[in-house]
């Protein structure tokens, strides 16, 4: 009997020790989010299938290039892994879903850090901010204008405003022009086409889209007026899965260092403040 008690005590002590060691080892393991990416040897970047120059576009060699591509490539390099761009999302909201479902590790994709999206993922500090812009059809708005500002003209039951599905402009439109009819499109190109055809009173996007369109269609300046809106800018952040806290910390630290050493400013200069990148556009 005594023998069995001793065996039982030894078994209990062994089990307690094993449990303690397992628990302790779990505590000693490094951050699992970083370890997962290092083990995979690659960082998967979620993007839309559509291209959004100058953030991501195809260059003359047919390679993906742009501000987001440069940024994501550097992130992967500093993490010590290769970069892989996963351009599967049909909308910007679907990019968020890709991160939530772990079909990608992060999203660096001209993605606005809206409060709606922040319910599903965590965002880094913004790395780009752009002002919202409105393109207005002068002929349709003209009759209603009579000296009024664009906001009061567009917030009207007869106004039809085009927005791209899944972009932050969609939520801005509903909040800023509640009386207008908001029409959703798959692409910005379809909006500008319908705007020129007088099927829309206005199209909402940001200063980058507006300026790109203006540069490409100078003759349309007679019929389409571009207004860069005052007010809070639209900010772009990197989306990270909610269960990846050290990766989020690391990315924020990475962006802080890029702010401090001026390289983020240089990235903005290369792609937003001048048009040199357009010479490399396919």
């Amino acid at each position: 009997m005594l023998f069995f008690r001793s065996v039982r005590r030894l078994l209990l002590a062994g089990m307690a020790l094993a449990a303690g060691l397992t628990w302790t080892r779990a505590q000693f393991e490094g951050p699992p989010d970083i370890a997962r990416i290092e083990a995979a040897g690659e960082l998967r970047i979620a993007m839309t299938a559509d291209l959004w120059p100058p953030f991501f576009y195809l260059n003359k060699s047919g390679e993906l290039a742009g501000l987001d591509v440069d940024l994501a490539t550097e992130i992967a390099r500093r993490l010590g892994v290769r970069v892989r761009f996963v351009r599967e999302a049909k909308t910007f909201d679907e990019i968020v879903t890709m991160v939530v479902e772990r079909r990608a590790d992060i999203a660096v994709a001209y993605l606005s850090d809206t409060l709606e999206r922040a319910r599903l993922v965590r965002f880094t500090q913004p790395y780009v901010q752009v002002k919202p812009a409105v393109l207005i059809n002068r002929a349709l708005a003209g009759a209603a204008r009579r000296g009024r500002d664009h906001r009061s003209i567009l917030n009207h039951a007869t106004a039809r405003i085009g927005v791209t599905t899944g972009t932050s402009a969609e939520s801005f439109a509903a909040a800023d022009y509640p009386l207008a009819t908001i029409v959703s499109y798959d692409t910005w190109g379809e909006i500008t086409r319908d705007l020129a055809a007088e099927k829309l009173t206005a199209g909402l996007s940001d200063e980058i889209d507006a300026k790109s369109w203006q540069t490409a269609h100078p003759q349309e300046a007679i019929t389409i007026e571009t207004i860069i809106r005052e007010g809070p800018p639209d900010t772009m952040g990197i989306a990270v899965h909610r269960d990846d806290p050290q990766l989020l910390y690391w990315l924020n630290h990475f962006l802080t260092l890029k702010h401090q050493d001026g390289s983020l400013r240089q990235l903005h200069a290369n792609y937003i403040e001048n048009d040199l990148w357009k010479k490399d556009l396919q």
Binding site: R8, L12, T24, F28, P245, Y249, L257
Partner: protein, 277 residues
């Protein structure tokens, strides 16, 4: 349930309590051995601080009694005083890499000593905000700089060797900038000797270490051109475990207050004198 009953039946009440107490102590010991956040440190009333074992005066050194001293030690002592906990130093890490690993494994609650917030280390630990900013000092072979067409041209010259001391706070940025051009030597004196011997063109140090060396070797100024890089400002930080969010936040607030009330400035004046930022 059967297991628990068997357990109860095996021990008299007194021994059972003793066994449970022992198990509790072992468990708490394991907890302190693993990742400790603010609550654990406050409960234990003790902050275990890993300090780099190498000497880096006046930031970290060993005093006559064999105890750690210097600006960073004085600062963490002030942090522990404000936290109202005692301080235990663990000085076994020979390099900053080892110190970061010690923090990541949870063997200490915090790590200090020549640590800066490098991206490589940020993969495994969290950092406080910087509590003291240094800046880079580049000491260049005057003749090599003249031949290259100036200091900037020499820095950009891929054939010009760059050296620095092991464990220096400037190393993470240099590794990124110079890559294979960089040779790391055990001490700053050895790195400078390499340049003076014509085997490398540039030695990079932080302003504190570099200025101290130059003050001790004024004649070397004839051979070396001193280029301060105010745009390269590595900050001294405290490392904590990646799960220790609350400890990190508390340290950040403490550093903020020490900066605002002038106590960090007083420490810089005491230890750095004319080399203070």
């Amino acid at each position: 349930m059967r297991l628990r009953l068997s357990f109860s039946g095996s021990f008299p009440a007194g021994r059972q309590i003793a066994f449970l107490a022992l198990a509790g102590a072992v468990f708490l010991g394991l907890t302190r051995l693993a990742a400790a956040d603010l609550e654990d440190v406050l409960a234990a009333k003790q902050l275990r601080v890993g300090v780099i074992a190498s000497e880096a005066p006046p930031l970290v050194q060993t005093d006559a009694r064999g105890a750690p001293s210097g600006l960073e030690i004085d600062f963490i002592t002030e942090v522990a005083r404000r936290m109202e906990v005692s301080l235990t130093f663990v000085r076994t890490a020979r390099t900053p890499d080892e110190l970061v690993a010690q923090v990541a494994r949870g063997e200490v609650d915090a790590g200090i000593g020549q640590l800066t917030d490098s991206l490589e280390w940020a993969k495994s630990v969290r950092f406080s905000r910087p509590y003291l900013e240094l800046h880079e000092l580049r000491l260049m072979d005057r003749m090599a700089a003249t031949r290259a067409g100036g200091a900037t041209a020499l820095s950009a010259d891929r054939s010009a060797g760059v050296t620095a001391a092991a464990g220096s706070i400037v190393l993470p940025a240099l590794q990124e900038e110079f890559g294979p051009r960089l040779t790391v030597l055990p001490t700053l004196a050895e790195a400078i000797d390499t340049v003076l011997a014509g085997k490398a063109a540039i030695v990079v140090a932080d302003n504190v270490a570099g200025s101290r060396w130059l003050q001790a070797h004024p004649a070397a100024g004839l051979r070396l051109q001193v280029i301060p890089r105010a745009d390269r400002r590595p900050g001294l930080v405290i490392a904590v475990h990646w799960k220790a969010d609350d400890l990190q936040a508390w340290l950040n607030l403490c550093i903020e207050k020490c900066l605002l009330d002038g106590s960090l400035d007083a420490l810089a004046a005491k230890h750095l004198g004319e080399n203070r930022p």
